[in-house]
C-alpha cells in the first residue's frame, strides 16, 4: 500500500499516461489516496502493461515506477481484505493449492458418491435417452446440491463486493445509477481497458498484441454460454418437461458446446500468455491464484466436452462425476479465488463511470 501510494504521487505529478486507461484519470481526481482509493485504482487496472513500457521512470530508472506490478499486488491483497466471511481471508494465501485441493476433493467425492449410491453395473453402463444422467444422480439431488452451492457463492460474492463498494465509494454506500452501470457493462464486455491505449497489451516484450484480450473473451463468453446452456436446460426441464441429455442440435447442447470450446481454448491461451509474460509486470507471488482459477475453468470445459462426446459410452458415469465435481468446486471456490477479479473490476468500472459523470464525490 505504501508503494502504491508513492507511485500515485509520482504518476500524479507526471500524467503522461492519462490517455492509456481509466486508472490515471481516476487518480487525477484525487490528491491523496486512502486505502479504499488505492484498492479502487488497483481493481480498475486491467494489467495491460502499457504504462510500464511507456514510462520514462520504470526500472532501471531510480524512481522505479512499476504501476502494473504494484497494482497487481494491491489487487490481490484487496481480494483477501474484502472477502466474506472475513475468517476465510486466509483462503487467498497459497490460493492455488487451496483451489486444487478443493477441486480434487470435490471430484473424488462425486466419484465415490456415484460408486457408493450406484451399482457398478449402473455406473459403467451405457445410458441413453431422456433422464440418462439422472439414473446416476437424481435430478432433485443435483438441483439441491448445486443450487445450494450456487446460492452460497452468490451470497459470499455479494457480501464481499458490498464491503469493497463501501470502502471505495464516498460517501459510504453510494448507489450506482443506471447509466453508469450500463457504461460499465460495455467497458467490461469489450475489455475496453485491456488495450494499451489502443495498440494491444504488452506481453513478453515491447511489441503489443491483442492476444490476451482474445483469450479472455473466449474464456469469459465461453463461461457465459455454458451458464446459458444450464439455464436453458433448467427451463426445458421445469417448463417443458424435457429431460437431459438433449440432441446435439438442441439449444442447451449448442450453447454448451460453443461455450465448452471457449473454456478450453481461452484458458490454454491465457496460461501460455501468462507463462511467457515479462515477469516484471506480474505479481509472481500470486501465480498460483491465477493459474488455479484458469485451471478450474479449463477443467470444467474439458470434462464437459468429454462428457458430451462420450455420453453414449460406458465412460459417461465417471465423466459425469468428474464434470459435476469440477463444476461444484468452481462454484464453491468462486468467492475465494481469482473469479472475484471480474466482480471487483466491474464494481470499479461502475464507480469510474459515476465519477466521470458526477465527479468523485457524486
Amino acid at each position: 500500500m505504501q508503494e502504491a501510494d508513492r507511485l500515485m504521487t509520482v504518476c500524479n505529478s507526471c500524467r503522461y499516461c492519462e490517455g492509456l486507461c481509466a486508472v490515471f484519470p481516476a487518480m487525477e481526481m484525487r490528491r491523496s489516496f486512502s486505502d479504499g482509493d488505492l484498492n479502487y485504482l488497483a481493481n480498475l487496472c486491467h494489467a495491460c502493461g502499457a504504462c510500464y513500457v511507456d514510462c520514462q521512470f520504470s526500472p532501471p530508472h531510480e524512481f522505479n515506477v512499476n504501476v502494473p506490478k504494484t497494482l497487481a499486488v494491491a489487487r490481490a491483497e484487496s481480494y483477501a481484505a474484502y472477502v466474506w466471511p472475513r475468517a476465510l481471508s486466509s483462503m487467498f494465501e497459497r490460493n492455488g493449492l487451496v483451489i486444487s485441493l478443493v477441486a480434487a476433493f470435490s471430484m473424488a467425492a462425486f466419484i465415490l458418491g456415484f460408486a457408493a449410491f450406484n451399482d457398478p453395473k449402473l455406473l459403467f453402463g451405457v445410458h441413453t435417452g431422456p433422464g440418462a444422467f439422472y439414473r446416476l444422480m437424481p435430478h432433485n439431488a443435483m438441483v439441491a446440491l448445486f443450487g445450494a452451492a450456487f446460492l452460497y457463492a452468490i451470497l459470499a460474492l455479494v457480501m464481499s463486493v458490498r464491503a469493497f463498494w463501501r470502502d471505495i465509494g464516498e460517501p459510504i454506500g453510494a448507489r450506482a445509477d443506471g447509466g453508469s452501470i450500463f457504461q460499465a457493462i460495455r467497458d467490461a464486455g469489450e475489455l475496453r481497458y485491456l488495450h494499451g491505449g489502443g495498440v494491444g497489451c504488452y506481453n513478453e516484450d515491447d511489441r503489443p498484441t491483442d492476444r490476451r484480450k482474445l483469450y479472455h473473451h473466449l474464456t469469459f463468453y465461453g463461461f457465459l454460454l455454458c451458464f446459458a446452456a444450464t439455464s436453458v436446460a433448467t427451463l426445458y426441464h421445469y417448463l417443458l418437461g424435457r429431460e437431459a441429455p438433449y440432441a446435439w442440435w438442441d439449444l442447451p447442447v449448442v450453447l454448451g458446446s460453443l461455450g465448452g470450446i471457449g473454456l478450453i481454448v481461452g484458458p490454454v491461451g491465457l496460461l501460455v500468455a501468462k507463462a511467457r509474460r515479462d515477469p516484471a509486470l506480474l505479481d509472481e507471488g500470486r501465480y498460483g491464484m491465477d493459474v488455479g482459477f484458469i485451471a478450474m475453468l479449463f477443467l470444467t470445459g474439458i470434462t464437459g466436452m468429454a462428457l458430451l462426446l462420450l455420453r453414449a459410452t460406458p465412460a459417461m458415469g465417471p465423466l459425469l462425476a468428474l464434470h459435476l465435481g469440477a463444476v461444484f468446486a468452481l462454484f464453491i471456490t468462486m468467492p475465494y479465488g481469482k473469479f472475484v477479479h471480474g466482480i471487483y473490476r466491474f464494481a470499479a468500472l461502475v464507480r469510474y463511470a459515476q465519477e466521470r459523470r458526477h465527479g468523485p464525490n457524486g
Partner: protein
C-alpha cells in the same frame, strides 16, 4: 555489420528515428547508432510529451486552428528575433504535414493532458508520452529493416573537406570498429549533460546544475563536427533552464521534478532575500525564466515560499513541500537565517495591496514600496503551516548547434553545403530557436528536419 550503409544516423531520439524511417522508406540501407543503453534510448525525447504543429482547422485532439502566421509570431516573440526566418517559416509550413506523417509512423495523439489546457489548441500530445512515441518509432524502424545498435558510442568522425567518410564506433561488446556510410545524419542532441563543457560558460556554478534528461547528452558529436569545419549556430553560452526541485536526482528527473508554484508565493535566495518579481508574467513564461534566475543566485539555490492556503492551486508535486508552523521553524528546516526570513516575509506582507486574485490573468494583486516588487498575484503569506520548495536550475537543452540549410544539409565554415552530411533535432535547433522556448517546438524541429534529413540523405546516397 554491413560493410557500408547508405545512411548512418548518429543519435536515437525523435529526430534520429524520423531520419532513419524516412531514409529507409526512400529505399536506403540505414544504421542507427544510439549511444545510450536501450532503456535510456532517445535522449530528451524520453521526457517530452507534445509537439507544436501548425494546422488550419480544429482536429479530434486540437481545439482550434493554429495558422502558420500565428506560429511564426509566437516563434518571433520567444526568440526575440534570433531565428533564421526563411528556415523557420519553412519548418512551420512543413510542420502541418508532420501531424499526419508521424501518425503513419505509428505515433498516436491524444488531447492535451490535465493541467496543460493552455496548450490544447496549439500542441498535439503523444498518447502515453514521449517514451511511448519513441517506442512506436523504434518498432516502425525495426519493422522497415533499419539496423539499430545501442550502447554505440561514436568516438571519432573521419571527415575530409566537408565530406563524411566513416565513424569510429566503440561498443562494450565488440570494441572499436569503423563504420562507413555514404551519408551521415547527425541527430545526437546537445551537450546539457556535459558539466565540463557547461563550465566553460558558467564556471563552477555549473556543478550545482541538475540535468533534466539522461546523462548521455554529452554533445560529443556536435563538438567533433564543429572541430572539423562545420559552421556553428546559436549562442554557446545559452541553455534552456527551469527551476526544479533541489532534491531531484542529478540526471533524468524529467517532468516530475518541476515546480510551477512561483506565482503563488515568493522566492528567496540562501540569504532569505527576494531577488525577482515573482508575478512578472503568466505561464509558460513565468516557468521558463526561473532556472536562469536561480542559476545567478549564490550557490545556485532558492526557495519558493508560500502558505497553506494555496497548496491545491498547482499540480501535485513529487517531493512534498517542507513545512513549518512558524516562519522561524521553516527557516530552520531550510537552513536559512530565521530572523532574515521573518523580516523578508513581514516586509512583503506589509507591502501587499488589496486586489482580486485571479491566476489566469495578470491580476491587480500587487505590492507597493518594496524592491523587487511582486506585480501580480501578490497575497500575504500568513496562514500556517508555512511551506517551501527548494529549487535549483534544471538544464533542459542547449542552443549551440550546426548550421543547416532547407535540405537539413550542414553548412561548412566557408558557407558551402557539405557533400553528404545532414543534421536534425537539438544539434541544429539553434538555426530556428536562437534562444527562448515555446512548448513542444523542440519536437517539431526534430520531426520536420529529421524527416527531411533522412529523405535528402537517401537521395544523396543514391547519386
Amino acid at each position: 555489420m554491413n560493410s557500408k550503409y547508405d545512411v548512418l544516423v548518429i543519435g536515437g531520439g525523435n529526430a534520429a528515428l524520423c531520419a532513419a524511417i524516412s531514409a529507409r522508406r526512400a529505399g536506403a540501407s540505414v544504421l542507427v547508432l544510439e549511444g545510450a543503453p536501450k532503456f535510456y534510448r532517445g535522449g530528451n525525447t524520453r521526457h517530452t510529451r507534445n509537439m507544436r504543429c501548425a494546422h488550419d482547422a480544429a482536429t479530434e485532439i486540437l481545439t482550434g486552428p493554429y495558422t502558420e502566421e500565428e506560429f511564426w509570431d509566437d516563434l518571433l516573440r520567444v526568440t526575440g528575433g534570433e531565428t533564421d526566418e526563411e528556415l523557420a517559416r519553412f519548418m512551420i509550413h512543413e510542420s502541418k504535414d508532420i501531424l499526419n506523417w508521424i501518425v503513419e509512423q505509428g505515433v498516436r495523439w491524444q488531447p492535451s493532458l490535465g493541467g496543460t489546457l493552455s496548450l490544447g489548441r496549439t500542441n498535439s500530445f503523444f498518447l502515453g508520452g514521449g517514451r511511448a512515441m519513441l517506442n512506436a518509432l523504434y518498432l516502425t524502424a525495426e519493422r522497415l529493416g533499419v539496423d539499430i545498435r545501442y550502447d554505440a558510442e561514436v568516438i571519432d568522425l573521419r571527415i575530409d573537406d566537408g565530406m563524411f567518410v566513416s565513424a569510429e564506433l566503440k561498443r562494450p561488446i565488440d570494441g572499436t570498429t569503423e563504420v562507413r556510410a555514404s551519408t551521415l545524419v547527425a541527430a545526437a542532441g546537445g551537450f546539457e549533460a556535459n558539466i565540463e563543457w557547461l563550465k566553460e560558460y558558467w564556471g563552477e556554478a555549473a556543478d550545482n546544475f541538475l540535468i533534466r534528461g539522461t546523462p548521455y547528452n554529452r554533445g560529443s558529436i556536435l563538438k567533433m563536427l564543429l572541430a572539423k569545419g562545420v559552421q556553428e549556430v546559436g549562442d554557446p553560452t545559452q541553455c534552456h533552464a527551469v527551476a526544479i526541485d533541489a532534491r531531484a536526482p542529478k540526471f533524468d528527473g524529467g517532468i516530475i521534478t518541476r515546480h510551477d508554484s512561483v506565482v503563488f508565493g515568493i522566492v528567496v535566495n540562501k540569504h532569505a532575500q527576494r531577488f525577482y518579481d515573482e508575478g512578472e508574467d503568466i505561464w509558460p513564461k513565468r516557468y521558463a525564466i526561473w532556472g536562469r534566475l536561480v542559476a545567478a543566485q549564490p550557490d545556485q539555490i532558492a526557495y519558493i515560499i508560500f502558505d497553506s492556503t494555496v497548496v491545491t492551486s498547482f499540480m501535485p508535486t513529487l517531493f512534498p513541500p517542507i513545512a513549518g508552523d512558524t516562519i522561524a521553524e521553516l527557516a530552520a528546516k531550510l537552513e536559512l537565517d530565521p530572523a532574515a526570513l521573518e523580516k523578508t516575509i513581514t516586509e512583503f506582507n506589509a507591502a501587499v495591496r488589496p486586489g482580486t486574485f485571479d491566476h489566469t490573468i495578470l491580476d491587480d494583486c500587487r505590492t507597493e514600496g518594496i524592491t523587487p516588487a511582486k506585480t501580480h498575484w501578490a497575497r500575504r503569506i500568513e496562514t500556517p503551516p508555512y511551506l517551501a520548495y527548494p529549487v535549483r536550475p534544471g538544464i533542459t537543452f542547449t542552443y549551440l548547434g550546426t548550421r543547416v540549410n532547407k535540405q537539413a544539409r550542414m553548412l561548412m565554415n566557408d558557407g558551402k553545403p557539405s557533400a553528404n552530411m545532414f543534421a536534425a533535432g537539438e544539434i541544429m535547433a539553434g538555426n530556428v530557436l536562437g534562444r527562448g522556448y515555446a512548448a513542444g517546438i523542440g519536437m517539431t524541429i526534430g520531426s520536420v528536419f529529421g524527416r527531411i534529413a533522412g529523405r535528402e540523405a537517401a537521395k544523396n546516397a543514391r547519386n
